[in-house]
Amino acid sequence: MIVSPSIAPTPFRAWLYLIVFSFRQLARLKQMVRIAVGLLVLTCMVTALVTVRFGWDRTEQRIRRSHVRLVEFVAGGMAAPVIESSPAVQLMKKESAPLAVYSRWMVFFIFLGFLLPLWNLAFATSALGSDRENRSLIWLMTRPIPRWGIYLAKFFAVLPWCILLNLGGFALICLCSGRVGREALQLYWPAVLAATLAFTAVFHMIAALFPRPAIVGLLYAFFFETILSELPVPGTVKRFSINYYARCLMYSAAGDSNVPVESASLFVPVSDRVAWLVLIGVTVVITAAGMYLFSRTEYRDDA
């Protein structure tokens, strides 16, 4: 019996299916999912433990460490209100407030500096990287779908995973941190979303261009991004990193809530609008460049 297709096959239907197919394929990367979830659970546990055991308010510790009470004792009781209202002590109190401490350590340092790029790297490099490593890319490259379409479909397939993991993971970590976490979630989720889009685009392109995308991605995330954005380096060179613009959005949100951030002399932020434009622009431009390069690159089935 010969079956004749009732509806003519179309490349658009094939492309839509490729998104679904690739999304499911990513779910099958069990090792990757387990590592990501494991890391999330560990972070949530540590955060919850710190919240319950120590809390996030460090005012007393810092005042004790900087001997403010001793100065007040020596100067006498009359001088205490003056010392307390001095700009240095006021700044110290602001910097030691729960939201400021939580933002500095959990959001800027651990989440933005480590978890977000790592989770993005894990999934975004796997969309094409796993097909390349398993040599199964041949099955996609011999289908009647434009090469740029394959790249774009893979990007759309991996994006929900990255958003789910980054935004969902961020929400979960914040919810494990009580009231201060909920405040941080409200302030920073848009920046997490914007950074996720840009990082996903970059790591996806790395997977299309390099045969060992995870290694190149790690080098990019923890050398290029870290050196440019994490270290207190003055100047405009840090503007080449995605982390910088995500940080600008976060610092702006923090500033609106009167949360002190990095010294303005070291970190010269751009406006919210510019940061958004750059992050969305990077996502679009890098994805377009990836589509172009992928459509011109030869992928041999024995490579």
Binding site: I2, V3, P5, S6, I7, A14, W139, P144, R147, D301
Partner: protein
């Protein structure tokens, strides 16, 4: 290698029109002066080839350029010079892939899937609707003899079963051009016969099959139309007989069984085309006085005419006449200057 060199030179000087596969239809696959290199290594060199409906075997030693040729045809590689077209569409273009079914040699699958899921996914990736993909999958799995075993995970499949699944996915969209890289590898003898029958059936439907195989005996059973590659070049294209005829420098070896071997040998050595005659030692189990002459002759066509005339004129009894080295193995051996092993 002197033979191979001179033969290559001679064959490459033959105009394309003389080695084209005779068929009036537009070429399904056309290589036009194609050169492809990987850094300093040349994969294929100045290849021109036209394939039309039917089965063509692709043979050549390892590193001869077969895989590069197949990858160019399937649009995985882009030629550095020249062009490759499938049904007139550039093979690199995604639209050409509508016409191509590819059964690769590599054994990479989505191992977590069952055979049925894999073929169905490939059908969906060809753009078929869900219902059509289901129906086509069932049809193709039946066609390759995997319908009853398709629900097992791919990672548990034997090599032969994987080959059949690869073939099923290649047939899904009814392509006019089927490129099969070692399709019989790992398939048992009964399965091989089924596959050969399927290939013949597909060819009879007007499809163009390009089959790369090291299994020359199987290939010979399937088609006598071969493309022989050597050192990145097309060394010869055509039927085995046509190619053998072109090998004038390489005398054909013929066995002639006769009851008057000495008389016939005396006649044969006078022929200008005969290079040598050997009397094969008598074999006891042969009936009567028959004995074999092993003759090496140039210009086979003229030689066979001459032998026929001698036999008739001298009224000799010839019970058997067989060319010993016009098999694909032997021809390949001559062209490649070796044993013909690929």
């Amino acid at each position: 290698m002197q033979n191979a060199d001179s033969i290559n030179k001679e064959l490459s000087s033959i105009p394309n029109s003389e080695i084209r596969i005779p068929n009036s239809a537009m070429p399904v696959l056309m290589f036009d002066q194609v050169t492809k290199w990987y850094g300093p290594v040349i994969g294929v060199n100045h290849v021109s080839l036209e394939l039309r409906p039917g089965i063509t075997g692709l043979v050549g030693a390892n590193g001869a350029g077969k895989s590069t040729l197949l990858r160019l045809a399937t649009g995985q590689l882009k030629p550095n010079i020249g062009s490759v077209a499938v049904q007139g569409v550039d093979a690199w273009n995604w639209q050409a892939k509508r016409h191509v079914g590819y059964c690769p040699d590599i054994d990479a699958f989505y191992e977590d899937m069952s055979g049925r899921q894999f073929v169905r996914s490939m059908a969906r990736l060809c753009g078929f609707s869900k219902a059509d993909a289901h129906a086509l999958t069932d049809q193709m799995l039946t066609r390759v003899g995997m319908a009853d075993r398709a629900d097992r995970r791919l990672r548990g499949y034997s090599k032969g079963m994987r080959q059949r699944i690869k073939l099923a996915q290649a047939l899904l969209h009814e392509p006019i051009l089927l490129i099969l890289d070692e399709p019989l590898s790992g398939i048992d003898p009964i399965g091989r016969q089924e596959m050969l029958d399927l290939f013949r059936e597909l060819a009879a439907q007007g499809k163009c099959l390009l089959i790369s195989s090291h299994e020359l005996e199987e290939l010979e059973k399937l088609t006598d139309q071969v493309t022989i590659m050597a050192r990145g070049r097309i060394a010869a294209v055509g039927t085995l007989t046509q190619i053998r005829d072109l090998l004038d420098d390489q005398p054909l070896t013929i066995r002639i069984d006769t009851d008057e071997p000495r008389s016939l040998a005396a006649l044969l050595v006078r022929s200008p085309d005969v290079v040598g005659v050997e009397l094969e030692p008598r074999v006891l189990y042969r009936e009567g006085n028959l004995q074999s002459l092993i003759v090496r002759a140039k210009n086979p066509k003229r030689f066979f005419r001459e032998v026929t005339r001698m036999v008739v004129d001298e009224n000799l009894n010839v019970s058997h006449l067989e060319a010993l080295d016009d098999s694909a193995h032997a021809i390949l051996g001559y062209l490649l200057g070796g044993s013909g092993k690929t």
